[in-house]
Each structure stands twice: as structure tokens, then as C-alpha cells.
Amino acid sequence: MSSFPTLLYKELLRFWKVSFQTVAAPVLTALLYLVVFAYALEGRMRVYDQVSYAQFLVPGLVMMSVLQNAFANSSSSLIQSKITGNIVFMLLPPISYLEFFGAYVLASMIRGLVVGTGVLAVTVWFVELRVAAPLWVLAFALLGAAILGTLGLVAGIWADKFDQIAAFQNFVILPLTFLSGVFYSIRSLPDFWQAASHLNPFFYMIDGFRYGFFGISDFPPLASLAVVAVSFAVLSAACLLLLRSGYKLRQ
């Protein structure tokens, strides 16, 4: 008698119906990044000894796609429902705040992972890649997607218009992902920016995820996992409190 499976199904169906825009487009974007950056910087930049720049770049791009799409899914779905008013269909039935949270976050994770898998599947045609520790890859991908799915939900609850979601995406999510070491190792940065990078939670997601591929990272992977897990716990608690209070959803 639970509403959760239907709400999850609805969220999945929603992005799947426009998969050209929600899956194919981000995969193409990531591929363009790879082509442009890898060819422009190959040979000029070497991060780890046994790893070419193109190889280094791929896990970063995959994780960036996972994170951005997980955020986009929950935030755009919720703001659309709020603005068009069809959120009432979810507020009238007996859906608990836990079910609501679970369905939105899980659907976002799935969208993020589908896009990430797509990016990986396309890039392996161009770049030879091995996976040293697949469980680390999976752990960071799942947690990273969950964090961004939750963040998207919080942004969707808070925002009253599309502009605010776009601002959140452009002024928070995008800088944090670009400055997290997707395109470079933070060890190549001056001391101050290295220290600053450690304040960016996205750095730990990317670095830990990359560890799963190469078995090398800028920061100890277990410590990264702890940071990411604690971030998820704190963010989910905040999100659940918002949902339970009905903040901006129920008057």
C-alpha cells in the first residue's frame, strides 16, 4: 500500500520520456569536453606517471556528468511541479515525507548513473581505461549522485521560479564541479588554492571516484569517503526536516 514505487516510476518515466534531452545531450557534452581538452592538453599535462591526460580526464568527466544530472533531475522536476501547480497531485495522496525524499533522490541517482554510464561507454572508444577498484567507483558514484539528488531536492523546495534553479546551477554547482579537479589535479595548484579545494566537497567525490580507476588519488580515499558520507547524512537530515515541516510545499 505504499506510494513510493509509483512516485519513483513517475520520476523515472518523466526523464525517460525526454531522454534525448536528459541523457543523450549530457553524454554528447562530456564527449566534447574530452575531445577538446584531451587533444589540446595531451602531452603538456601529466598528472600521474602511468596515466595519460585523456585517461585522467575520463573519470572526472563521468563523475561530473553524474553529479550535474542528479542535481538537474530532482531540482527541475520539483520546480516544474511547483510552478505548474501539478504538485497538488502529490500533496493530496497519503505520501509520507520519507517516501517523497526516497523517490526523488533515487530517481535522480538513477538519472545521474545512466548518464555517467553513457559517458563512460562512449569515451572508452577513445581512451583505454582500466578499473583498479570497482567498489570504490561504485561507492563514490552512488554517494555523489545521492548528495546532488538531495541538493537538487532542497533547491527545488526553496526556489519559487526557474531563474533561481538556474542561478543555483550556474553559481554553485558548476563552479564547485569545475574547481574540484575534474580537469586537473589539485596538486598542480598554488598552496592557497590547494587548501581552498579541500573545502569543496565535490573535490572528495571526484578524487575518490578517480581512485577507483587508477588506485592513486590526491587525498586518502577512505577519508574522502568519510567526508562524502557525512555530507550526505547532514544534507539528507536537512532535506528531511524541510519536507516534514512542509516548507514552501504546504501552506
Partner: protein, 299 residues
């Protein structure tokens, strides 16, 4: 006794605005109940509190005995709400929309009932069309269907016929009446007072967040309205001492208010005594619009 809907001293404040200022009412099971009032009177706020879309600042609301806050799961299963706004999810078809809505109530193999609702609301031809492609009237029917997917015993319709053409309105009322005959409790808000008069057993009138009248439709009509008598006489001046309230009169045409049929004989007798000849006579039965205007003016 369990009421379909029971509200006790319900208050709702939005900052400085007091949208509901202590509303109490009880709707019995099986009733066809009307909620009337001018814009901003608090009708939609009251419905929102009943449906759990808004939380009351004070007071208690129960649906079929279930508290809408403490026992919200049971309360919401008992209630179907047709919202006032014409909202829809542009991603889905009519059938998908209804299946999803049904699943939200935990009902998964509900296709037989969904087909029946689609049939009764004449949505069959559009069942697999995307919601975006539907006309306003069709979207309104889907909203009604969505409110019914979980077979709620209590159905609340917030202005269901606003902007709906005459044909659809008739069809919709026929369907709602049938639901009522089958035992569903219906609560309705509408701006069309003749609809409320025709359909509702009892009516509550709201003004500025308070109930200013609550009675059976019949009693309201009898208490407040009386009859309106329109006359055309052979003279421009009405004879003195007719004993009825004169509402208007010029060029030999007069409008009088009677408290009931018993006054009619008296007025006619006095006109005869004064030698007045009646050229035309029209007697209008009480109507809810008149009651509404008088109740609103008094408060």
C-alpha cells in the same frame, strides 16, 4: 456519529491576514453540501485545510472521523479533491496520469475502475493522448477522474464548472449527482448560485473567513428571500397601504417583495379595493442569489 467532514473552530492566518476566523461545520455522510461566498471569503483555504494542502493555525478537521493532521493517511484516502486551477502534468497521457494517481494511493491493479471512470467521464477517445493536447474542458474531466481513482467516500469540488461550457457542465453534474446517489458525500464551491440551489441539500455561506449562514437550501430560501411580485397597473401611482415592501416603481411598473404566498392575497385585495386594474402580473419564486446578496449585506 461520524461526519463526512467535521471542522471545529478552524483558524488560518497568513501573516496579518486572517483567512479563516473560527469556522465550524459538519457535513453528514451522503450529503450534497454547498460552500458559497465571495472571492477571498476563505472557501479555497477551508478546502486546502481539509485536504491537508494547508495547515490550520488552530482548530481540528476530520474526514470520516480521521484527523487530517494526526491521521493524515486515512483522512486523505477518504477524500477526493478536484482543485480549482486547471493543472496537469505535461509529461503523461490521460491513462498514465490516472494510473500514477492511483498508485500514489497504493492502488496498483486498478485498471478496471480507471476504465470505468474514463468511460463515465467520456474520456475514452483521449485516454492515450498526452495531457498537453487536451482542451480545457477535457483537462477538467481528467481532474475529476484523478479525484475519483481511489474511490473516496467524500468528494470536494472547488469551482468545478468555472470556464466550462454548458454541455460539459450538464454532463458533469449528471455524473456528480450519480456519485451522490451512490452514497458519496459531495462538497461543492461554485460561483453559479443557480447550480448550488439546484444541487445542494445544505449550504454554508462564508464571508471574511466566517460562516455567516448555514442551513438547508430550502430554509435559507424561505427565511431570507420571500417572493418578488412584479406588476403593471393602469396607473403610475401605487395605492397606499398595500402592506408589502416596494422595491421599485415607475411608469406603472412596480416591484414588491412579499414575505410569502400568504401576502399575495392581501395585496391583490387592496389593489381591487383601490380600483386598480392589473395589466400584467409576474410572481418570482425565491432564488439563492437574492438570499446570498441579503446575507452578505447583513454581515
Amino acid at each position: 456519529m461520524t461526519f463526512a467532514i467535521e471542522a471545529l473552530n478552524v483558524e488560518k492566518r497568513y501573516g496579518a491576514l486572517q483567512a479563516l476566523a473560527g469556522v465550524s461545520l459538519a457535513v453528514a455522510e451522503g450529503e450534497f453540501f454547498g460552500l458559497l461566498g465571495p472571492n477571498g471569503a476563505g472557501k479555497t483555504t477551508l478546502i486546502s485545510v481539509i485536504a491537508g494542502l494547508a495547515r490550520a493555525s488552530a482548530g481540528v478537521v476530520r474526514v470520516m472521523g480521521a484527523d487530517v493532521v494526526a491521521d493524515y493517511r486515512r483522512a486523505r484516502r477518504m477524500l477526493g479533491v478536484v482543485p480549482q486551477e486547471l493543472v496537469f502534468d505535461p509529461f503523461f497521457t490521460v491513462r498514465e496520469t490516472l494510473r500514477i494517481q492511483s498508485g500514489y494511493f497504493g492502488l496498483r491493479n486498478n485498471d478496471a475502475w480507471i476504465d470505468e471512470v474514463i468511460h463515465h467521464l467520456d474520456l475514452g477517445a483521449k485516454a492515450d493522448a498526452n495531457m498537453r493536447t487536451l482542451s480545457g474542458g477535457m483537462k477538467r474531466r481528467v481532474l475529476v477522474a484523478q479525484a475519483l481513482v481511489h474511490r473516496p467516500p467524500v468528494i470536494v469540488l472547488d469551482e468545478p464548472t468555472a470556464g466550462v461550457d454548458v454541455e460539459l457542465r450538464q454532463g458533469l453534474w449528471q455524473f456528480i449527482r450519480r456519485l451522490n446517489r451512490d452514497g458519496h458525500t459531495i462538497v461543492l464551491t461554485t460561483h453559479y448560485l443557480e447550480e448550488a440551489e439546484e444541487l445542494c441539500d445544505r449550504i454554508a455561506m462564508l464571508k471574511a473567513g466566517r460562516i455567516v449562514a448555514l442551513d438547508s437550501t430550502r430554509n435559507l430560501l424561505e427565511t431570507f428571500s420571500g417572493l418578488v411580485l412584479k406588476l403593471r397597473l393602469d396607473r403610475d401611482v401605487l395605492p397606499e397601504g398595500l402592506g408589502a415592501e416596494v422595491l421599485a416603481g415607475e411608469d406603472g411598473r412596480f416591484t414588491l417583495r412579499l414575505r410569502g404566498h400568504f401576502e399575495l392575497e392581501e395585496v391583490l385585495r387592496r389593489l381591487r379595493e383601490a380600483g386598480a386594474v392589473i395589466r400584467e402580473l409576474e410572481l418570482e419564486p425565491p432564488d439563492l442569489e437574492e438570499v446570498f446578496l441579503r446575507v452578505m449585506a447583513r454581515h
